[in-house]
């Protein structure tokens, strides 16, 4: 199980790299332009967890031009094939719906609280080291959202965590969800501007009630604007898309009251598609969630079970409780205080809380992909999908295992052989 490389002889061969594509590319480097880096690989693993059915024992994945070309049990004739990457386990690249990706310094549009038409894609820094950090820990796809200082912040974007220095070129799905926030964060530290110099926090809303009012007013205005074009405002199209179910709405809602407020809003305006982010106390309202059909993104687990500014209670068994209630959920690596945790360890905590391995795996791969409607490209290991692989040196999510390799679109970003 733990065998990384079958024999040292193979390791030597790999190291010398007689026929591994990476090394060949390196040798040819002076002649061939750097862009033509090979993205064709064969990877063997003791176990492959596809996140879409049963695990494959002793399986291989063949990658051609950044896509998965073949997957299955290793044919006996190929068992000792040379030039093959060998690892203990493979999972799909992880997907984080609430990652800790640094936004550039100026990413809050303070001129308004309701800015549904703004795109976070325009504020992202493709060179941010936080992308690289996520990628190296096995997170290959992230949903980047506008900061939660605005009530309705704008449009989130799904991007790969690596690739060229251009957000446009890394985008998996533009305008994936409309992002907003309930609770304390949009009003946190805000105050009226009387008698003060203007600064970031001198603005509305200043209370939780005010935040909720802004939400309801925005959707009310959108409904009015549907009848009367004169009443239109910037961002109304996005709100209409949400109301029509063409655009999922993702809101930050941590403690119970915010979860309830969000679901009441969904029901009042008949919003078809709602995702609750950082919903640490969602487990307290399972019936409401099941009734509304909203999906949940859980913040990272903590040792004392308290998360976010509101100190929501989020024990290790909350994921299990949601699973048993039939609520769709995913894990993430960030809470409202921007505490940064590795996504790859969250399933491990949830499993300590009683969740099964399969459910835990789904909650970082195929479930978030389905929530965003990108499951045709990422989220599971199937022929034709993007070759985003996480290579493990043991059983995934065990605390004694680690991510030793990462492949993104067929590029071996973290080479497991380097860990030897």
């Amino acid at each position: 199980m733990r065998t990384l490389l079958r024999t040292t002889a193979v390791a030597t061969t790999l190291a010398i790299g007689l026929c591994t594509p990476a090394v060949r590319a390196q040798n040819n480097a002076p002649k061939a332009p750097a862009a033509e880096k090979s993205r064709t690989w064969t990877v063997h693993a003791d176990q492959i967890f596809t996140a879409n059915g049963a695990a494959i024992e002793g399986g291989f994945i063949s990658v051609v031009d950044g896509k998965i070309a073949a997957i299955g049990p290793i044919p006996s004739r190929d068992r000792d094939k040379e030039g093959v990457l060998r690892v203990a386990a493979i999972t799909p690249g992880l997907i984080d719906l609430s990652p800790n990706i640094d936004l550039s310094q100026n990413s809050v549009e303070q001129s308004d609280e309701i800015t549904p038409h703004l795109r976070v894609a325009d504020a992202l820094d493709p060179y941010s080291l936080s992308f690289d950090r996520a990628l190296r820990s096995g997170v290959t796809t992230v949903l980047c959202s506008p900061p939660d200082e605005n009530v309705i912040g704008g449009l989130s974007v799904v991007v790969k965590t690596g690739g060229p220095g251009s957000i446009a070129k890394r985008t998996v799905k533009a305008d994936a969800v409309l992002r907003g926030s309930f609770g304390s964060q949009p009003s946190r530290r805000n105050s009226p501007a009387f008698g003060r110099s203007r600064d970031f926090y001198n603005r509305r809303p200043t209370t939780r009630m005010g935040v909720e009012w802004e939400w309801r007013k925005a959707f009310y205005d959108a409904v009015v604007a549907r009848q009367d074009a004169e009443q239109s405002f910037p961002g109304v199209e996005q709100l209409h898309a949400v109301l029509d179910g063409k655009l999922p709405l993702m809101v930050q809602a941590g403690p119970t009251q915010d979860v309830r407020t969000a679901i009441f809003l969904k029901e009042e305006f008949a919003i078809p598609n709602l995702i609750l982010d950082q919903a640490s106390e969602a487990w307290k309202e399972p019936d409401l969630l099941v009734r509304s059909g909203a999906a949940v993104v859980l913040p990272p687990f903590t040792w004392n079970g308290r998360v976010g500014f509101d100190r929501g209670f989020h024990a290790w068994n909350t994921a299990l409780l949601l699973e048993e209630s039939g609520v769709v959920f995913a894990f993430s690596g960030r809470d409202a205080t921007d505490r940064d945790e590795r996504l790859s360890v969250q399933p491990g905590y949830a499993m300590r809380g009683g969740l099964s391995f399969e459910s835990a795996l789904r909650a970082v791969t195929i479930t978030p992909a389905r929530m965003l409607g990108i499951e045709n490209r990422v989220g599971s290991l199937e022929v034709g999908k993007d070759a985003d692989l996480v290579l493990w040196n043991g059983r995934p999510f065990d605390f004694t295992s680690d991510v030793v390799g990462v492949m993104l679109d067929g590029d071996l970003v973290v080479d497991p052989r380097a860990a030897q």
């Binding site: 100026n106 549009e109 303070q110 001129s111 795109r119 504020a123 060229p164 220095g165 970031f200």
Partner: protein, 465 residues
């Protein structure tokens, strides 16, 4: 690399002044006569050695006077050698219609990388008529023999020359109809300082504090004559454009608004989209650059990126992208990473130019590139040809070529050597600036042929065959 080797040779060895051609006799007029002491109008010459009987005659001849006039009046210390012209050859007078001037220099840099040794530049009515090693100079043309390197005046396609109040509006983020040529004062001290540094043409641009700063203008630094009133639309996508005190305060807001404006395509935005008005986009950090390039691709525009200090780390998106990078030149203390990135970009063969803050900053930035192995030709091209192209006046300035404006700078050594200095600056064929050297008398006698500025003496020859 030949040029590299030539540079230190010329600059460091301070090679001896070229001997006058045989058959011409030079009479040394007065050592270290200050031309500024001469009054060309009255032609009263101090310190003329009595025994040089022919000198008075020579001086009164029209060509020499013309040459004197062309050199202006604020002229400091230069050693003057006057030729003794055989009486038979003296011309009747300069033709009134055509104003001709021939400049001969040890090395002429044409701007595009080519050089001519002992070249002659023939100027007619302020424009270059011919250049080369053997130029057919019409008889009677006043000819000035210059010692040093003659190069095109530098053209900097972005500058922060003007006072901040003339370039920045703190209350509004979008000023599409502003035109900076209406705002600047042509006698500005900053312009004459730029001229003294050999910069003859600059683009006046607004600060990066406004998202849309308005329309830039191209001016000559000599007197601030406007070459082009509407040169570019100045955009800013850098941190300074997202101000906490007015819309937009975020990059999302900024980009969304620009997208809306370009999509609507009214006014200047329409001109940009149709290609009639280029853009200058202030983009300092890498993500600013990435955002600008992405938006440009989306909205269909390309232009120059101002700043882009780490462009060398972004060749994956900038290589052959059609954008030109205009590097900022803040001064000597550019950090190592930026210096390396600048050099990498310059070596990649993609076009680049420089922005002007002050002369020392500009020269240090170029020197830092050279120290990191960028070829002097590439840097000189950036300061001249590329600069002019980005400024939108490529066919007119930035090269020593037939038909171009005679904006020339005489340098005491290679123009990119820090130890060289501009000696005379010609704009439209007129010597509009002359370096003010410190009085030689107070300086210790050089022990070696040494300092290149010792060559800063100019010789005037009269009629030339």
């Amino acid at each position: 690399m030949r040029a590299v080797e030539r540079v230190p040779a010329a600059a460091s060895t301070g090679r001896a002044l070229p001997q006058p051609a045989q058959g011409r006799r030079f009479v040394h007029l007065a050592s270290r006569t200050r031309l500024g002491d001469l009054d060309p109008a009255s032609a009263v010459l101090p310190h003329i050695p009595k025994d040089e009987s022919m000198i008075g005659q020579t001086f009164l001849q029209a060509p020499f006077l013309l040459a004197l006039l062309a050199l202006g009046t604020g002229t400091p210390e230069v050693a003057v050698d006057a030729p003794v012209t055989p009486a038979a050859e003296s011309p009747a007078g300069a033709p009134a219609a055509r104003e001709l001037l021939a400049l001969r220099a040890d090395v002429v840099h044409l701007g595009d990388g080519r050089t001519v040794e002992n070249g002659t530049v023939l100027i007619e009515n302020g424009r270059i008529r011919a250049v080369g090693a053997s130029v057919d100079v019409p008889s009677g043309t006043p000819t000035v023999q210059l010692h040093g390197h003659l190069a095109p005046g530098f053209v900097l396609p972005h500058s922060s020359l003007l006072p901040i109040a003339e370039r920045f509006d703190a209350t509004r983020g979008f000023l599409p109809d502003a035109a900076i040529v209406h705002a600047f004062r042509p006698e500005s001290d900053a312009l004459s300082k730029a001229l003294a540094a050999g910069v003859t043409t600059v683009v006046l641009a607004p600060t990066e504090g406004n998202v849309v700063g308005g329309v830039t203008g191209v001016v000559k630094t000599a007197g601030g004559r406007v070459l082009k009133r509407r040169a570019h639309l100045a955009l800013s996508m850098s941190n300074a454009a997202v101000d906490d005190r007015r819309f937009p305060t975020s990059f999302s807001g900024l980009t969304t608004e620009l997208r809306r404006l370009f999509t609507a395509g009214e006014g200047v935005y329409g001109e940009v989209k149709s290609g009639t008005l280029p853009v200058l986009v202030a983009a300092r950090e890498r993500h600013h650059v990435a955002r600008a390039v992405d938006l440009g691709a989306e909205m269909g525009f390309k232009g120059a990126l101002i700043g882009a200090a780490l462009a060398g780390e972004q060749l994956d998106i900038l290589d052959k992208s059609g954008w030109t990078v205009v590097f900022e030149t803040p001064g000597p203390n550019i950090n190592t990473r930026i210096q390396e990135a600048m050099a990498d970009y310059a070596k990649s063969g993609n076009p680049f130019a420089f922005s002007y803050v002050d002369a020392d900053g500009m020269r240090m930035a170029t020197a830092q590139l050279l120290r990191r192995g960028v070829s002097p030709d590439a840097v000189l091209r950036a300061l001249t040809v590329t600069g002019a192209q980005v400024a939108g006046v490529g066919g007119r300035v930035g090269q020593i070529e037939r038909g171009f404006d005679a904006d020339l700078v005489l340098w005491s050594g290679h123009p990119l050597e820090l130890s060289s200095a501009p000696v005379v600056v010609y704009v439209d064929g007129k010597a509009v600036h002359r370096a003010s050297t410190r009085p030689a008398s107070t300086r210790p006698a050089p022990t070696r042929p040494a300092s290149t500025r010792a060559k800063a003496d100019t010789k005037h020859t009269g009629a030339n065959r």
